[in-house]
């Protein structure tokens, strides 16, 4: 009996000690289809796919491939059955070349067990041509971008003749442009007759790339729908289980006095090349100024200069009219500058510290929490407990290590810490990177309420959606220069996109020349 489906999973259940990760899940996949598995962090998406890939044994349920019941007990068997998986964390060997990584464990042999490299190269080239994937086979993995590594992973699966390709949160590590490219590749794969399972918690992508969407929440399927018959708002509600506000409602902006001002600010990067050139910014109390731009156009250097983590190469930074050019993070933060850093695990948190210690990372030395050099236990604990409650940080207690929190809760720790320090200026970078819908909503709410309390907020984001929904004013940074300055009402996604890639600049120069 042949089946309409390439793959069917029926009644799959799986529990871990204390968690029911999957409960009675039905999931199927057609040939030539991109099927998105959508759910918040911890919903059970990865678990379901690991069952399919033979990494976990289900407690119950059955799997059918092309109508036939199969048991998959190991990844080797899964691969033999035509299932390929690209994991959330890549499984590549950095010092090996792209080619070596692709064929590792499935090397074509000539007589006497010699490696038939020519055959492998031929096969890979034909695969990558079909998909329009560009890969340099002789480059070492450690020297290629994350986007490229992902393509290598995909090729690795295709090289093993996968018919079902599982991609676990493939876009969470990519820049928006790379994500766009990946979408193309996925569509191409489906057009070639493969079945693609696309795991994500990002709604926009789902609508763009998927044919069908299965939403899971708390280990159960909420529903399976065709993407043409649904919309983002509905999906968000299915995913979170309550009404969510994707567009933040916010009151009118009432800008006060100028808090932060930069005058012809220049900053150099690690190679001592100019990264920020003659930047002039003004942020007022009670407004959110967003800096839009493609990654790597000087945003990181600008943030580091403003927060004292990197010396200023020229120009001035003024906080309420006072120069704060000194590269001294401590003095700057004590002047009332809060900073929600771009990389929360590398810079925002000491992961092996407890939540309490992380909440006090900048305050432990103040008289409120420290007397004669000794930390004040009671005060610290009370403070931490209050913040945990106020900012709804989900943890068994303040003594738990920050590393054991989910991404969203880690971000809450940072936000709680920075906002409760009551800064006049808050510098915020990529505040929702990697977070799911519910957590994004929370972060946005906090930023808006900080604005309404009269804080000046300087927001850096790569996500245009985020900028458009939060900003009162927008500037665009391109190659270290501010190339545009718009009121929120003037800004559209197209306009910003053009400016971010230097388009407007070229246009303007053309006008000047002519």
């Amino acid at each position: 009996m042949t089946s309409e489906f390439l793959l069917e999973m029926q009644g799959i259940s799986k529990s871990f000690p204390g968690v029911q990760a999957n409960k009675d899940i039905n999931f199927n996949l057609r040939r030539g289809e991109v099927h998105a598995l959508l759910g918040e962090n911890g919903a059970g998406k990865t678990t379901l796919m690991k069952i399919l890939f033979g990494l976990y044994k289900p407690d119950g349920g059955e799997i059918r491939l092309k109508g036939e019941k199969v048991e998959i007990n190991s990844p080797e068997e899964a691969i033999r059955q035509g299932i390929g998986m690209v994991h959330q964390h890549f499984m590549l060997i950095p010092p090996f070349t792209v080619l070596e990584n692709i064929i590792l464990g499935a090397e074509p042999r000539k007589s006497l067990g010699r490696l038939d490299q020519a055959k492998a190269v031929k096969k890979i080239n034909s695969l990558s041509q079909q998909l329009g994937l560009k890969v340099e086979l002789d480059t070492k993995i450690e020297n290629v971008t994350v986007g490229m590594q992902q393509r290598v992973e995909i090729l690795k699966a295709l090289y093993r003749e996968a018919e079902v390709l599982i991609l676990d949160e493939p876009t969470s590590v990519l820049t928006p442009q790379e994500a766009e490219d990946l979408g193309e590749i996925i569509r191409e794969l489906a057009a070639g007759g493969k079945g693609v399972v696309f795991i994500t918690h990002k709604l926009k992508e789902v609508m763009k790339f998927a044919d069908r969407i299965t939403v899971i929440r708390g280990g159960r399927v909420v529903d399976s729908v065709n993407s043409s018959e649904t919309d983002i708002q509905t999906l968000a509600e299915m995913m979170v289980g309550r009404k969510v506000f994707l567009e933040m409602k916010k009151g009118p902006c009432r800008p006060g006095k100028v808090i932060l001002q930069t005058k012809n600010l220049k900053v150099v990067d690690n190679r001592r090349l100019p990264a920020v050139k003659r930047v002039n910014l003004q942020v007022r109390a009670g407004e959110i100024l967003a800096v839009a731009g493609v990654d790597g156009n000087g945003q990181s250097e600008l943030i580091e200069a403003l927060t004292g983590l990197r010396p200023v190469a020229g120009g001035q930074i003024l906080l309420e009219g006072q120069e704060i050019n000194y590269a001294n993070p401590r003095r700057i933060l004590e002047k009332g500058v809060g900073h929600i850093p771009e990389d929360r695990q590398k810079r925002g948190l000491v992961l092996d510290f407890s939540i309490q210690e992380n909440l006090l990372l900048e305050l432990y030395r103040t008289p409120q929490f420290c007397r004669a050099g000794f930390l004040r236990k009671e005060q610290s604990l009370t403070y931490a407990e209050n913040l945990i409650e106020e900012f709804d940080i989900r943890t068994p207690g303040p003594g738990i290590k920050a590393s054991s929190l989910s991404g969203g809760n880690q971000q809450k720790v940072i936000i709680a810490r920075e906002i409760r320090r009551d800064p006049q200026l808050l510098i915020v970078a990529q505040p929702t990177r990697g977070l799911d819908v519910g957590a994004i909503e929370f972060v946005h709410k906090q930023l808006i309420s900080a604005r309404d309390l009269g804080k000046a907020i300087l927001l850096f984001s790569l996500e245009l959606d985020e900028i458009l929904s939060l900003a009162d004013r927008i500037v665009v940074i391109y190659e270290g220069e501010i190339v545009g300055n718009l009121a929120r009402e003037e800004a559209t996604e197209e306009k910003l996109g053009l400016m971010m890639t230097g388009g407007l600049l070229a246009e303007r120069e053309a006008v000047n020349d002519g």
Binding site: P329, K346, F353, G373, L375
Partner: protein, 368 residues
Amino acid sequence: MGEDLKKDLFKDYGQKLFFPLVALFISLFAGGLLIAWLGENPYIAFRHLFQGALGSATNFGETLVYTTPLLLTGLSIALSFRCGLFNIGAEGQYIMGMMGAAWVGSIFTGLPAWLHIPLTMGAGILSGCLWGVVPGVFKAKYGAHEVILTIMMNYIALHFTGYLVNYILLAPPGYLPATRVINASAKLTRLLPPSRANTGFFVAIICLVMVYIFLWKTKWGFEIRAVGLNQEAARYAGINVTKNIVLAMALSGGLAGLAGALQVQGIQYRFNDLFAFTGYGFDGIAVSLLGNNHPAGIILSAFLFGSLNCGALQMQSVAGIPKDLIGIMQAVIVFFISADYLLRKKLEQPLGEEINVRRGSAGQEVAK
């Protein structure tokens, strides 16, 4: 919730103790096999080992003699570890501490003991401190690697003190390559005679408590630990990374230096030319690792190593089993402990996802 938390904590302690105990057990077993292979009776060997270490008040006292320097060098290493540094230089700092104490202990005469004893200890601490600060500054300011630097500092200490004792501070008439004996006012009180145990042991214990309080109860300790766990985040939070690296190396050196001073003031009373490294600094690394870089753990591990070293002497002299065997057993313990560290590093990866998958793709059964 509260119950779960308690369970987690206990699981944590259990885990912390589990591996060291297993390591100890395995190394005893391996030692036993080795003894049998040498044609001796393991039971008799272990009985002498045990008796030699703890069999009488005197033997216990001698065990304390071996334990005391390990407590401090172990603590020294642990403190540097907590700041993310690997101070291999405890050996050199220990040697400098001995020399500093031998000098100050002998040049001042007529001082009251209440002044001379701390002064002499202070000299040891300061010498060790200096030997720690130099590599600390190079590390913090120029990013030089502290492991290389401290190894070099060890050799400088060994040969520099060799020069001092043979040419500058040689005790007349000069038959022995040693400094003058320190004055009675700098000597520590002996306990449990005829063993050489002395009040230096209590000094070490006090240091242990002080380091614990310093690291976990003061803002300076908070900073050192933050720097040790994540320099980038520490800098972000306004903590001066350079200053803390130098401070940690200074304190680490001071502790090792104090170990040397106590050895002179309590046991040797002078500095004898060393010819080779004493090993106390290097053993400190093992003690610290085995003790999980925590003062409470270090008490246990230093005592274990001290007992083994002390018991080994009787095992050798009475049962005729070479005491190097104990060195081998200690090495086995360290070997297993470091294996445990590697393992735990992997297990602690967020989500534990990667390791599962790796195991899985090696074709093993992952799910129960």
